[in-house]
């Protein structure tokens, strides 16, 4: 549990960080909170020769409201998300989900940028960002570009991030006033990744679901949008038969790995239950 040798760099600007990444090449990795990367290094599953610490870059921090969007700096910690009044007010599901990540120690250091850039299917933020329709801003040697969260994840630890690129901020559209939301996460204990989790954001009109999107965590090698499941509930009042249909549609796209959390069959089964429960809870608080 001792990492191999590495050099440490602490640039003060995004441009310097990008330059370091480009100059040092494949062996360099950005370091954010270190709560995914450092454990991998301690197991020597990751052996970067250079760590480019982004913590010295002030521009990467903070949450701000820009019209109908929240703009969140990549280096904003989970704790800062929890402390933000803006998040609590306009995007309560982000607050709810952040609170289900790990424990206070991890949340004090772990960042939203690291969480979404990591590419681990166990991370909670990616599916939530897809559910909310977020966009990631990436900067590299060739300039800046935007990638939708829904297009970002390609496989376990494979993302659209190109070598030399840094994720600088995330733009998240604020859901409609009166929306319902829920993040249902089944885990074995505090500090555990999800056995299965479901994010739901919906609006109701006249007792029926008007819009709905559903994201799934840790039931596939990437986070998932459960589009068929979401479509199945639109226009319904979430009666038992519809909920069953939605859960089945969501389970149909899941392909989790068997692990100590349970066999594949169990993880898919509870994945469906998380969808059902999130839908019910979201509908109950929608106005």
């Amino acid at each position: 549990m001792i990492p191999g040798p590495f050099s440490y760099h602490r640039p003060a600007s995004v441009a310097d960080a990008v330059k370091l990444l480009v100059d040092l090449g494949e062996d360099a990795r950005p370091l954010a909170g270190g709560h995914s990367l450092v454990p991998m290094m301690k197991l020597r599953l990751a052996t970067p020769a250079h760590l480019i610490d982004l913590r010295g870059i002030a521009a990467l921090k903070g949450v701000s409201r820009n019209g109908n969007n929240l703009v969140i700096g990549a280096m904003t910690t989970q704790h800062e998300l929890l402390a933000s009044d803006e998040v609590a007010k306009s995007m309560p599901i982000l607050h709810e989900a952040a609170l289900l990540i790990a424990d206070p120690q991890v949340r004090y250091r772990g960042t939203i940028g690291g969480n979404v850039a990591n590419g681990d299917p166990g991370n909670d933020m990616p599916a939530l960002m897809m559910t909310l329709g977020a966009t990631y801003h990436l900067e590299g040697a060739g300039g800046a570009r935007d990638v939708a969260a829904a297009d970002f994840y390609q496989g376990a630890y494979f993302t659209a991030l190109e070598p030399g690129e840094i994720l600088t901020s995330i733009t998240v559209p604020v859901p409609a006033a009166g929306h319902g939301y829920a993040y249902e996460k089944l885990k074995r204990k505090v500090g555990d990744y999800a056995t299965a989790a479901a994010a739901v954001v919906l609006t109701m009109a006249g007792g029926k679901v008007a819009t709905c999107s559903i994201g799934l965590t840790n039931v596939h090698e990437t986070p998932l949008l459960a589009t068929d499941a979401a479509n199945a509930v639109i226009g319904t009042s979430l009666d038992a038969a519809t909920l069953k249909k939605a859960a089945a549609a969501a389970s149909a796209i899941m392909s989790p790995a068997a692990d100590a959390r349970g066999p594949v069959e169990y993880r898919k089964h509870v994945g469906g239950i998380m969808v059902t429960r999130a839908l019910q809870r979201a509908a109950a608080i929608a106005k």
Partner: protein, 806 residues
Amino acid sequence: MNDLTPTREQRTAALEGMGCKRKRVEDIRFTQGRGNYVDDVKLPGMLHGDFVRSPHPHARVKRIDDSAALKVPGVLAVITAETLKTVNLAWMPTLAGDVQMVLADGKVLFQNQEVAFVVATDRYAADDGINAVIVEYEPLPPLVDPFKAMNADAPVLREDLVGKMSGAHGPRKHDNHIFEWTVGDKDLTDAAFRKAEVTIKEMISYHRTHPSPLETCQCVCSFDKIKGELTIYGTFQAPHVIRTVVSLIAKLPEHKIHVIAPDIGGGFGNKVGAYPGYICAAVASIVTGKPVKWVEDRIENLTATSFARDYHMTTEVAATKEGKVTGLRVHVLADHGAFDACADPSKWPAGFFNIVTGSYDFPTAHLAVDGVYTNKAPGGVAYRCSFRVTEAAYCIERAMDILAQKLNMDPAELRLKNFIKAEQFPYHSALGWEYDSGDYHTAMRKMMETTGYAALRKEQAERRAAFARGETRDIMGLGISFFTEIVGAGPSKNCDILGIAMFDSCEIRMHPTGAGIARVGSKSQGQGHETTWAQIIATEIGIPADNIMVEEGNTDTAPYGLGTYGSRSTPVAGAAIAMAARKIKAKAQMIAAYKLEVHEDDLEFDIDGFRVRGLPEKFMSMKDICWAAYNSVPPGMEPGLEAVSYYDPPNMTYPFGAYLCVMDIDVDTGVYKVRRFYALDDCGTRINPMIIEGQVHGGLTEAFAIAMGQEIRYDEVGNVVTGSFMDFFMPTAVETPHWETDFTVTPSPHHPIGAKGVGESPNVGGVPAFSNAVNDAFSFLGSTHIQMPHDFWRNWKAAKDLGAVA
């Protein structure tokens, strides 16, 4: 007398003696980060050692190439079995009469086995060195399932034992067989089963788990070439035993070995045995002439140093239609991994598993235990329990519930019908123990009344009906456990470790001003000995506990003791402390008589001094007697006030308790909620009620973890898949249920202060309570026994197998 004269109550309270909820004195340093643990020991020039470990569960080691490792900056030496052979230390004896490889000798027998020891100037360099050692393996077929160990075609694991058809505990039936141990009257028991009106039979497994103390196993070894002396700082629950073992295997004179166990961050049995790290660090220090530190990381601790349990218990009970038990028959298949490294008293290959008749009056019983080798880490230790007592308690407490279910009888009623009665003590059990004291009916009834047991059963019936009507998806279970432990090993007539009787010891030295030091052969790992040992002395000799310093763990200063495990400290060392204190008191009485100019027999002890009978104003305090001991002792008496006691207990002690767990389980997800947990413990005389409560909380939390998910699991090809706290269930404060504690007091008749020990009771009694709650919840759906651990997915699977989820 005036208003300022303290009352008797005030004088008693000032002592903070037995029965006082005295605050733990050691917590002042622990809570301020001022403890002194092994990893805090830093000696000049100290080197660091770390292990190359096997990725294979079973393989031949063809070649070890350390040339690249020796080029890594900071790496000084790479020690292999070949190096150790030059000092005859490639293998070491285990406490169970087996031998164990220190470093892989031609073969590896479990994943993460120690293969080479890299010594470097710091921990980072050592780890870099490990990654540069090249080991060539030839994989062999792994043996994972203990039930296949004795198949004709099973791979032979221990080539060193081939042809030796007799081991430390008698004949071996197969190359992978370690021992067979039988107890009880087979013919009588078989006859009871033939005549039985009702019988049950179930294979009850207690899965492999691990004590996982917060602080892992570690040591610093420092060999002084000039003096020829070896100093070892280590996480040792039994420092004196370690000194003797080192002397015997390293052929160093015992007085030239100094073993020091400083503060220890939890042991739970993990720190009783000897591990390759200790030997390698010692050899490395001898080779390099520098102190060498070895500190296990979490993965190493979970996967290489001793596991616990892994008992597969085929259990049969015979009974009458009315529910009176008439016979018990148990066969255990014990998985010991690659080496039998059980930490049991030497003559007890399955520990005290023959306590398996539990709290019940079985007229006859028979037990057979077969130990086998598999390609898993060696062990197993007693994880917060006396030797194999938790396995035994789990076995009988599950069996009683299964019998109750078969008889369609309430499990509480079945227990009340079969308990050993108060008037039967001392009670001789069918499997050979003499229970010292108990009042089971009183404890059980108190539990049932306090928890409202009858009302809970009624609620359960209503819930089951509601479940059947489809109104709820939650099922409710009530888990009863009524355990009897056997602790305090032990009497020299049946307990020794490597030939050393399992006594314990105390030396008390009182100073002139009325303060003193007590050195004890036990070794606290967090149990609070510095607090409680002083309380015993305070009450015995009338000196405030605050004036008694307790010291343990340094073999140069502490009297020889067998250490702390198996809840033996209070039963054995606690008795030695009381006996040493009584010697002090006896001498003090002679001094007081001389000073007060009366005959000794005219004095009576009164809280904190001696008083002349009939002349209450003639009184000499213990404090003043201490002073007198150093200047005016009676003619012919030696000055000073010291005493030593070595205590060989006449019997074990038998704590017991009545626990109830109330649990709700959501069948759709398998998620459970412990609604209520009540624990009544009877540990005899209570020295410090607050410490008892703390011990019960800790033990219940471990029991909860074990029953509900904590396991060391291997996949079918022998990879250990639970090597970190991500997958090895370690509950946090959030998951841990609320504990309600209660007690009755039935003192031990043979112990000087009547105390029995409590540290392990909650683990022993807790596990069956949780498991019985889960099993009770599912029983109405048609199950008789569901194996532990009862984590979420397994609960869901049980529900699914029983048809309760689609």
